[in-house]
Amino acid sequence: MARPKTLAVPWRALAVATFALALALPFVGLWALASSAGRVQRNSLWEVRTLLALNELGTVERRVLEMESAARGFLLTGDERGLDHFPVAQVDLDRSMRALARLTADNPVQARRLADVAPLLQARVGSLTGLIQLRREGGLAAAAREVGNAEGTRQTAGILDLLAGMEAEEDRMVVVNSLGLDRGVLLFRRSLALGVCAVAVLCGLALLFFKWGLDERRKARETVERERQAAENAIQASNAQLRQSNRDLAQFASVASHDLQEPLRMVASFTELLARKYQGRLDAEADEYIGFAVDGARRMQRLIEDLLRFSRITSQGGPPARCAAGAALAQALLNLQGTIQETSAAITHDPLPEVDADASQLAMVFQNLVGNAIKFKGPSPPKIHISAVKEDGSWHFAVTDNGIGIDPKHHQRIFEIFQRLHTRAEYPGTGIGLALCKRIIERHGGRIWVVSGGAGTAFHFTLPSQGELP
């Protein structure tokens, strides 16, 4: 079965169309039958008419001859009784001629011949009537003279010739008609056989198209199934990859907590021991170098600790549970108590709802955001407000301050781990805080972003939750 592979053939439509054609064909056959039946009927009619015409032609011939012989008898005998039949034959002749005119009206050849024969007949009847009259008045001798010129005989021969021609034509018509009839029947039989064959072939084709359509559909389904299977395999592969990478990350966290800390502690402790023991006994430069080494080791320690905290958000975070956001904020403010007092920060908040979250991680978010608001304060004491608005399916929190603000071009960067906008001398810190917040919020299915033009910053975040205000 050679079928185009790439082109989509509408097999079903083809099948339906072919089947419809197969159904329609018998009706075409019926119509053909009806019309051929009409033709057969017409042919039969013609045949009858031809036979009638032949009959009438025979009558005309007989009557002419009868009148002729009646006239001759009277001419010879003068016996009036011999003429009895003459007017009857004349009437019959006229009737037959009229009948012939009717029967041959649709055949121009016969009509012309009839037109030719009619005056001849009239002339012959006239001449015979004239002869009879002559015999009555002039006697046998006068009539014999008239007969002797053989004019009448020629007339009669002409008439018979024409009539014979017409008979031959009608005979030919009989043959033509019966041939037509046979052809019609033959044609009908052949058409019937052909029609049955065509219907069978069309039905077969329809079935074939239908089957191909089904095949095509099955193949399409199989293709879809194969593709789905492939996609599933790809997902499983990438899931396995993800699990492996999570394991690697956990491994890294463990390495960082155990194995990196140890040598770092050695570096830090012994530089400090050096400083302790030899402070002032070396020169000022040596003291400075020791200071750098100690500071570097401490910073590295903090970075490792921050990295660990970052990786523990997902590896050690608890499942979200219903908890009071207000309690989490209170915990955060308690942890920040010292700095809040030092900076005389004024912190206010809306009534806070209950949310579905890991309470200690939520506290961590508040602590980082409020802590940042205090850390990046403007010249006046920090004013910080925490708001909460319910949106469909989640709570929308915002921590707004009157601090130094953040240039919009840094709004993306600040959420990346260890990204800082200031030197350590200006503001201390590793740059973990906002990355931590983002990881926590995203772990809970929320979103965090910043709104800040010039002065003042608002950190917004959402937490999907059905919780209400307590």
Binding site: S257, E262, A268, S269, F270, E272, R298
Partner: protein
């Protein structure tokens, strides 16, 4: 109660530590706290148990008043050593302070699960480390009342 031998004279501390750096640091810290004498150092868990059992080269070893036990030790780690100490009636009375360079939750849980007397994360800061050592000394030798008593 466990049979115990009250040690006369200076306080005896057994430090089980494989890292020479930490040995030096601990010695320094203890010296700053003026507990320089009576510090015995072994480098792995098996030696620690030999010391406590007075086996082989440790035939004349004193019974320590306090054990400072590192977790990451070769051959037999600190948690295993702790398990053995706390399962022997003659040793279970000796306070064991677990020292770890990590603050990993699972280490802490395992240590207390084997009856460690306390778990301390070695501070990065030297000053802090010295302070911690001072606190250990202060707590275990002056605050706490131990079986057998101590002068």
């Amino acid at each position: 109660m466990t049979p115990s031998v009250a040690s006369a004279g200076p306080i005896q501390i057994l430090l089980v530590e494989d890292n020479p750096g930490d040995v030096v640091l601990t010695r320094e810290a203890l010296r700053e706290c003026r507990i320089s004498n009576g510090i015995h150092v072994v480098g792995d868990g098996e030696k620690a148990l030999a010391f406590l059992g007075r086996e082989g080269e440790y035939r004349d070893a004193p019974r320590p008043d306090l054990i400072l036990l590192d977790i990451n030790l070769p051959r037999m780690n600190g948690i295993e050593v702790l398990g053995v100490i706390k399962s022997r009636p003659e040793l279970m009375g000796i306070p064991v302070v677990i020292l770890s360079s990590s603050s990993a939750e699972e280490d802490i849980i395992r240590a207390y699960g084997r009856h460690a007397n306390c778990f301390i994360t070695k501070p990065l800061d030297l000053a802090q480390f010295i302070k911690v050592m001072g606190a250990i000394e202060e707590f275990w030798f002056t605050v706490v009342k131990l079986p057998g008593g101590h002068p």
